[in-house]
Symmetry: C2
Subunit: 346 residues, 2 copies
Amino acid sequence: MQELDERKRKILNAIIRNYLDTGEPVGSRTISKYSDLNLSSATIRNEMSDLEELGYILQPHTSAGRIPSDKGYRFYVDNLMKEKTQEVTEMKEFMIEHTERMEQVLQQMAKVLAENTNYTAMITAPSYHRNKVKFLQLSQVDKEQLLAVIVTEGNLVKNKMISTREALDNETLLKLNILLNTSLNGLSAEQINLGTIARLKEQAGIHSNIVSDVLDALAGVFQEDEDLEVYTSGTTNILKYPELSDSRKASELLNAFEEKKQLVSLVNETLASEEQTGIQVYIGDESPIQNMKDCSVVTATYQLGAGMTGTIGIIGPKRMDYENVMDNLKTLKSQLDAVFQNKKEN
Amino acid sequence: MQELDERKRKILNAIIRNYLDTGEPVGSRTISKYSDLNLSSATIRNEMSDLEELGYILQPHTSAGRIPSDKGYRFYVDNLMKEKTQEVTEMKEFMIEHTERMEQVLQQMAKVLAENTNYTAMITAPSYHRNKVKFLQLSQVDKEQLLAVIVTEGNLVKNKMISTREALDNETLLKLNILLNTSLNGLSAEQINLGTIARLKEQAGIHSNIVSDVLDALAGVFQEDEDLEVYTSGTTNILKYPELSDSRKASELLNAFEEKKQLVSLVNETLASEEQTGIQVYIGDESPIQNMKDCSVVTATYQLGAGMTGTIGIIGPKRMDYENVMDNLKTLKSQLDAVFQNKKEN
DNA sequence: TGTTAGCACTCTTTTATGTTGAGTGCTAAT
DNA sequence: ATTAGCACTCAACATAAAAGAGTGCTAACA
């Protein structure tokens, strides 16, 4: 026994699809005319009345059509929507080939996504949590300055200047480099614990303060990117949807996009609740970000082996084209996986 | 002999100041009441009529007050506005102290600027044009991958992965490093010409292809940052000004901010026309960016010794508070100079 | 019993119609 | 040269009326 019989489902489906298109409340007559089940508007009205009572749709005011409620959207996404026949929205390959730096790849991805969907796209760089150190090097750049370069397994490069009281001679530098590499190579942020650190410092002897600095830098590197490497694109697309484009709402949303920090909670939320398909849909109040309660947010995570994950998200009006968005996200997800696995890049 | 006598100037000044405040067309009666010259509204009307004929002000429609024309604003900025008594809008020092990476400093600067002015702020990283190579290092990261690290005089670090067909032995690497450093050290992008390159390649012998790659990387580094390291903040501030916040205009503007490429033309324009004060004001159509013809743009350049310059800009409505903006820009400019000169940072 | 036609009713949207008020330009008086 | 006074204009606001879309309900029908 189900809450909704076949006919109610069909009608709900028709209502939502129509509303996704137009953004206008949809009336009984419209459904009566533009659906395969041949029913008069009166009958539809009765059914709609039921659907409203059950909470799937609602009336903005008496004598207007109905619009889907959050519950309605949810039902649509979970049960009604058909999987789109993945007609590979071929992401332009060349774009990936021709760009070299990861930031640019991600930025481009976001752009393509935003253009394809007409919503706002966000994408985070893979976070380093469990990423491992692969190469580490200290160089004397200046009398009083060392440069620490850190390369991780994903071929992500980070560097950091370290000020020292005095110059180190070549030999010491070499020793330090060997020490650091042998000790830290293959370790992830989590694996570098107090024990490791104590041992390192001991071995470094009088240069333990430099080791400290390097470790700080290392921590900073791991930290930093966890924070706010978020790329957005198509932020202005929200202005295309009247229900979001009034000054107040638009301003709040755009602000959230600019202050990328806020988006982090979205990422965390997404990572927390692992899902089989890897795609999640937040409708209205379900969204982890308060400002987005009038929106829907669809997120996916991509994997870059070894526990490095990134998040992709689309933010748009509740009446977004869920099928298209999820489809896009799915193909992008797989493509991202591919890119990062096949291509050694910086 | 001047086009405007003292009284007309005073009236024009009053009109503009009032309009900057309110954003509403200002009528003769208002001026008559709120100005020190004791004249009746009728007299003011006559003068205003003259001012209109001369093109300094205009009427949005018959029987509305007057608003400044672009010419009016220009006159105001050039002649009427008094320099604000630089009451050092002390940029919070700690912010500079606590952030370490240049990007963050710049981003923060932009934010402060946007918050201080309530307009949109943009700021570019110093461009490397004539910046010099200070340190250069190749390291073997992987069997088939070299990492090139480049440090410039401004202590800006860049790195680039280079794929090789096969691993190099330590000795060769050392030789290459020495070669590269001795040949390129102290040179700027412009100074690395074909002669240098030819000589380098010759000396590199069978490894000339690696040298090629390094040089490409180097060029890429110089190139890249010339392109689009632009930080913006407060983009949503434009929504606060009704004359800019209608959907069409807002959308265009916000887009321009997102597609930072467009902003580059602004930078170039600014750099091209050197000015004594270093502060430039573009009013309406004067702006190098088409989308901003309903805005005013104020820019400044800051210097980081050795021919490295960056640009700061404020974008707002034509009726922006020019005094405040220019003041802010001036102090920031000097502070930026200071930061980059006193502090060795990455 | 499920479906449908018909109708009264509701409420937004649109259009038309005043009304107000700020502001101007012009003329005549000071 | 300045000002008071007055007729005129036009956006902005406020109703008021009309139109239209949609509903709920009732009664008729298969």
